[in-house]
């Protein structure tokens, strides 16, 4: 872990909050200076709208915006920049696909999700199933893996929604198995890569997924920008999701003709500053390498997990060799655990983490969650353990 010793200094949040131990990275990552500077640079030097002007600034903005698409396409190994649609976040991407694919779903068809899904890759599919009177089935999560994949994904299945990495447990479900079965029955697969991309990378060609979506704020970029990857032939055969400015070729009273993909799916003024900052966020990740980021995070998580496993009052969920630790402690609510941590300037998360189906499967209402990122270090683990001891002391008063 030596090589990342000085990386914390790239993140101004820590010089402004010197005592901060930020362990809520599954919720959002902190931003390096170069990403923050990019937003400032965009608005101070280039600001103009996208695709609407012939003047110099407009050309610069158009180029930045397009180069963002190309940067992402290359980062995730897409065939073309036109397979990248900018959205504001992962939730919007999933909703885009679920609405635009409505016409391909009929009553009696089946939509499958997994018990590991964040609500953003669960609710849009549940709602689609309801709208079309389609079947909706959830692949259960048992013994730290998905089960009954082959039975649940059947010939009626048209869509399978699956996460690359659980935001609660950090576990990566068996994507290959799901892909193989989905290909057998001709179902479309949409991958939630929000949690996974900064740590495991995303290779849409190798994975062969049909759609994938990302929220850039969890990969060192700003909030309010995300992207959807979709195979060209699928995107081209889908109707627009939102309509309005910037997505139309012809409008003749009642007759409309949309722009080509991907502009067809980007109604309204987009977020070029966010796109420019995304380029910088990818530069930052590429400089370190996703493998190194993941290795660093897992090594911290494993070290902490080992220590926590020795405390009898703690129930550890999930498994080792992941970058996220979800846990509960006897007789104390996770929210109270998080409050004690907060008193000691340690940011952890407590709650259901927008993953109610998984909470139900684990028979819990909430967990406390510690999630690591590249700027965390071993010294911070000591502080975590001090807070854990404080929580344990508190629970002894509740006996």
């Amino acid at each position: 872990m030596q090589e990342f010793k000085n990386i914390k200094s790239s993140f101004p949040i820590f010089s402004n909050n010197p005592e901060l131990v930020f362990l809520d990275n599954a919720s959002t990552s902190q931003k390096p200076q170069m990403v923050i500077d990019a937003i400032n640079e965009y608005y101070t030097k280039y600001n103009s709208n996208v695709g609407r002007g012939v003047y110099k600034l407009a050309e610069i903005t158009d180029n930045l915006y397009q180069s963002g698409r190309e940067k992402i396409a290359s980062f995730i190994n897409a065939n073309s920049a036109n397979e990248i649609v900018f959205v504001k976040n992962g939730t919007e991407a999933a909703n885009l696909v679920s609405y635009s694919m409505s016409g391909k779903i009929a009553s009696g068809d089946k939509i499958v999700v997994t018990e590991l899904e964040h609500h953003s890759n669960y609710l849009p599919w549940l709602e689609l199933a309801k709208r079309k009177q389609a079947q909706f089935e959830v692949i259960p999560f048992k013994n730290n893996q998905l089960s009954e994949i082959d039975q649940i994904i059947n010939e009626k299945t048209k869509i399978v929604a699956v996460t690359q990495m659980s935001n609660v447990l950090g576990i990566q479900p068996q994507l290959q198995e799901i892909m193989a079965r989905a290909r057998d029955v001709g179902a479309v697969v949409i991958l939630d890569a929000v949690q996974g991309i900064a740590q495991k990378g995303l290779d849409v060609k190798a994975m062969d997924v049909d759609f994938a979506f990302v929220s850039v704020h969890k990969m060192f970029g700003p909030m309010g920008i995300g992207f959807l990857y979709g195979k060209s032939e699928l995107l081209e055969n889908m109707p627009a999701f939102m309509t309005g400015g910037g997505m139309i070729k012809e409008l003749n009273e009642l007759n409309t003709e949309w722009l080509e993909v991907p502009n067809k799916f980007e109604a309204g003024t987009p977020n070029p500053a966010g796109v420019y900052a995304t380029i910088k966020a990818i530069d930052f990740i590429e400089e370190i390498g996703t493998e190194n980021i993941y290795k660093h995070n897992v090594s911290l998580a494993n070290a902490l997990r080992e220590k926590l496993a020795k405390i009898s009052q703690i129930r550890l969920l999930g498994k080792a060799d992941t970058s996220i630790i979800s846990f509960t402690i006897d007789r104390i609510h996770p929210h109270d655990i998080a409050s004690i941590f907060a008193n000691n300037e340690i940011s952890i998360r407590a709650g259901h983490h927008c993953s109610k189906p998984l909470m139900n499967a684990l028979d819990l209402n909430a967990t406390a969650r510690i999630s690591f990122q590249i700027y965390n270090n071993e010294k911070e683990l000591e502080k975590v353990l001090e807070s854990i001891n404080e929580v344990i002391k508190w629970t002894s008063l509740l006996k």
Binding site: H333, H335, D336, S339, A350, H352, M359, N365, A366
Partner: protein
């Protein structure tokens, strides 16, 4: 926020009025979507709309359960109108610990539900 405050700790450990009343006049449930706290509240009133008995159960953090328990002792014997006008700050004073912005929803889970139930009760009586 001092979670170790004696009052909260005592009420969290041994919540008062922790039972569901049969044939309640007002009854309802609510949850805190952030942390998954759940409260189920039952209230009986006499002919003057004074709270004669109060019972709750549920699952939650020290703040939500503790605040509900403390409040339950306070409102028995009060009229529904009085309880409807019960200020959040008055509850914070009773709790006796500083409630950080992130925990306000926990502290107010019970009081908000009670106020909602009173509103429904009065609307149904109209």
């Amino acid at each position: 926020m001092d979670l170790f405050a004696e009052i909260i700790l005592d009420h969290y450990k041994n919540p008062r009025n922790f039972q569901i009343l049969e044939k309640a006049d007002l009854e309802g449930q609510d949850s805190n979507p952030l942390c998954g706290d759940k409260l189920h509240i039952t209230i009986k009133v006499d002919e003057n709309e004074t709270i004669s008995s109060f019972g709750f159960d549920g699952e939650g953090c020290a703040i939500s359960v503790g605040a509900m328990s403390i409040l339950s002792e306070e409102i028995i014997g009060k009229s529904l109108t009085e309880v409807e006008n019960f200020e959040n700050e008055a509850l914070y004073d009773l709790i006796g610990v500083e409630i950080s912005p992130g925990r306000v929803k926990c502290a107010l889970l019970g009081l908000s539900l009670i106020k909602k139930l009173i509103k429904i009760y009065h609307e149904q009586k109209k």
